[in-house]
């Protein structure tokens, strides 16, 4: 029934934090995972200056308050995309964490691309894959540079194809074309594991919520046809 479907899709959009992603992380967690550590002053990108808290002994320190806000927005957005059954593609060209990212994607039931990016993957998809292909609805960059320390081609391609992007930007990255940048460290194992854990938990949470609401709505519609049964109390959405 179109009514219920409409409600299913519009209800989460009314709340600023429908999936309560704020509780998944705290400032202390970010600090312990060394998310605030940036690169040296010489590597600093001009557009990252607003996100930098300061510089100590030539090493940039990222402002974790801003990171918290950006992270909350990004996680909320991914949760909404996962709730609406969108295709999420994890991209990272960092060889150290390639296996970790692929395993995270596999465990959430989403997709990963941590290998050499072929030029026409997004822009020439119909010829590369065949007609009728569905492109990803969200790209998550766990490291927005490629092996030659240049911005990943997928950022530009996603912007061309109108695909929103979420990306962890370090002090040497360009945050311009990314829709939801997350200023933070992308080189430490602890920080990467934290990001993977957070994304995995949000996606699984959102998918479970969707299943739960669908089941609930099915039950509701069954009861409407069966008026002899007592009406169950409406649980919280």
């Amino acid at each position: 029934p179109p009514d219920l479907e409409d409600k299913l899709l519009t209800e989460p959009l009314r709340h600023p934090d429908f999936f309560n992603v704020k509780e998944l992380f705290s400032l202390k967690d970010l600090f312990d995972a060394r998310v605030h550590l940036g690169h040296k002053k010489g590597c600093r990108h001009q557009f990252m200056e607003p996100y930098i808290f300061g510089c100590r002994l030539d090493q940039d320190i990222i402002d974790l308050d801003q990171t918290m806000q950006h992270l909350q927005l990004a996680l909320n957005f991914t949760a909404h995309v996962a709730y609406r059954k969108g295709i999420i593609l994890f991209v990272s060209r960092n060889r150290q964490f390639c296996h970790l990212v692929e395993s995270t994607a596999r465990e959430c039931g989403e997709y990963a691309h941590t290998r050499y990016w072929q030029g026409g993957l997004l822009t020439n998809a119909h010829i590369q894959f065949g007609p009728g292909i569905r492109l990803p609805d969200l790209l998550i960059f766990l490291s927005s540079l490629n092996n030659v320390f240049e911005p990943h081609v997928a950022i530009r391609d996603a912007a061309k194809m109108n695909i929103p992007t979420v990306g962890v930007v370090d002090t040497n990255c360009n945050p311009c074309l990314i829709t939801y940048p997350i200023p933070g460290n992308d080189d430490s194992p602890t920080s990467m594991e934290l990001y993977c854990k957070l994304f995995k938990m949000t996606i699984i949470r959102a998918k479970n919520k969707r299943k739960q609401i669908e089941v609930f709505q099915d039950l509701q519609s069954q009861e409407k046809h069966d008026t002899s049964r007592p009406v169950l109390a409406e649980g919280q959405a």
Binding site: I87, H99, E102, Y111, H113, Q118, H126
Partner: protein, 384 residues
């Protein structure tokens, strides 16, 4: 035509210059073709033009129908041949088809055949995504999903082994690596791997995968993942097959003798060499001096004896047929050398082999080709 030679070299003769000109024209054409290709197509289209290769040629329903028809046809064939349909094997089918449809064609693949559809229709990749558009494999968007998932799995095994190693090290046990015999095994080739993954690979990808496997194998605790590694290693058949030397035989008088066979071009010869004798050689019942009037042929016959310093010690009786005088001599030489192996030590057998006495001469008469006078001789070239 003018050519700047740089250093003052003598002009090449006319025919070479013409050949060189033709070669340059051909090379230029090749380059043109290459540049044309570069203009009209793109690298993406070269690599995986899956869309251009057309929709699925063989749908699942089609293959299923083919299998049903094959089973029915097998039963009909068994009935026709008067055999039991239940126990009709593939070899029986092949024999029946060869009997019912005799074909004189040389190429086995061109003859009529009846095989199971899975052997005839090559395995194909089905549509990779479901009804809602979501692909089935989590690495679908990389393009080479099977190859990258293989790399992912192998790397996982590597991490597993390293973890195991760390656990053992924490307990204080140092693992010992048993030397595995690598001689009899080889890694899968690129084509075999392509067949396993149903995907095209590049040389780079293949070498990367092999390097990863070798890295996995060199770790001490890799015995845990032996089963996985075995999937990608094949055994090579032992190449050196030792030819066993036949023992000496003894005839009624107690004289040791041994036989050998030899071939050269179209001649076939058998030789019987007796242990004690005065160096007499009989060919087809005729003495060697009468059968081979030419000195060169008799030298060929004597060569094995001369090589082993046994010229006056053995008696030989040979039979030979086919070929001309030179090839008959060569055939008998090979036959006597093979027969002499039983009289001689292993070291001397190896010397004989290295001297080329025991190798069959593979040279056969080359066929005449059309458009030429002989095998190599072309017709006289006339300028006008």
């Amino acid at each position: 035509m003018e050519r700047s030679d740089g250093v003052g070299r003598a002009q090449r003769p006319d025919r070479l210059r013409l050949q060189h000109q033709k070669w340059r024209q051909f090379n230029y054409l090749l380059k043109e073709i290459k540049t044309l290709r570069l203009i009209y197509t793109t690298t993406a289209a070269w690599r995986k033009n899956i869309a251009a290769s057309g929709p699925e040629k063989y749908t699942e329903a089609f293959i299923k129908k083919q299998i049903e028809e094959f089973d029915l046809g097998k039963r009909h064939l068994a009935n026709m041949m008067g055999e039991d349909p239940e126990t009709f094997t593939q070899e029986d089918i092949d024999r029946a088809i060869a009997y019912l449809f005799p074909s004189g064609l040389f190429d086995k693949r061109a003859r009529p055949m009846m095989k199971h559809p899975t052997e005839i229709f090559p395995e194909q990749r089905k549509i990779q995504w479901g009804e809602d558009g979501r692909p089935f494999h989590f690495l679908f968007y990389t393009g080479k999903q099977s190859y990258y998932s293989l790399m992912h799995e192998t790397y996982e095994k590597l991490l597993n082994v390293q973890k195991h190693q760390d656990q053992l090290a924490a307990q204080g046990i140092s693992p010992q690596k048993e030397k595995k015999n690598l001689v009899g095994s080889r890694w899968v080739t690129k084509t075999e791997l392509e067949g396993m993954l149903l995907e095209k690979l590049s040389d780079d990808d293949y070498s990367r995968f092999i390097r990863l496997l070798e890295k996995l194998m060199t770790l001490p605790c890799s015995d845990i993942e032996e089963n996985y590694i075995k999937k990608f290693s094949k055994e090579i058949a032992v190449q050196l097959q030792k030819v066993s030397v036949e023992p000496l035989k003894y005839d009624e008088q107690g004289v040791a003798f041994s036989t050998g066979e030899g071939v050269r071009k179209t001649s076939r010869a058998t030789a019987v060499v007796y242990g004690s004798g005065t160096g007499k050689i009989t060919v087809n019942g005729i003495d060697v001096l009468h059968y081979f009037p030419v000195l060169q042929d008799r030298e060929q016959l004597l060569f094995p004896f001369q090589f082993l310093d046994r010229i006056g010690k053995h008696d030989t009786t040979c039979t030979v047929s086919g070929g001309g005088r030179s090839s008959q001599a060569g055939a008998i030489r090979l036959a006597t050398a093979k027969a002499l192996r039983s009289f001689v030590t292993e070291k001397e057998v190896e010397f004989m082999r290295q001297a080329g006495l025991l190798t069959v001469d593979p040279r056969v008469r080359e066929r005449k080709k059309p458009g030429q006078e002989g095998a190599r001789r072309k017709f006289t070239w006339k300028k006008r």
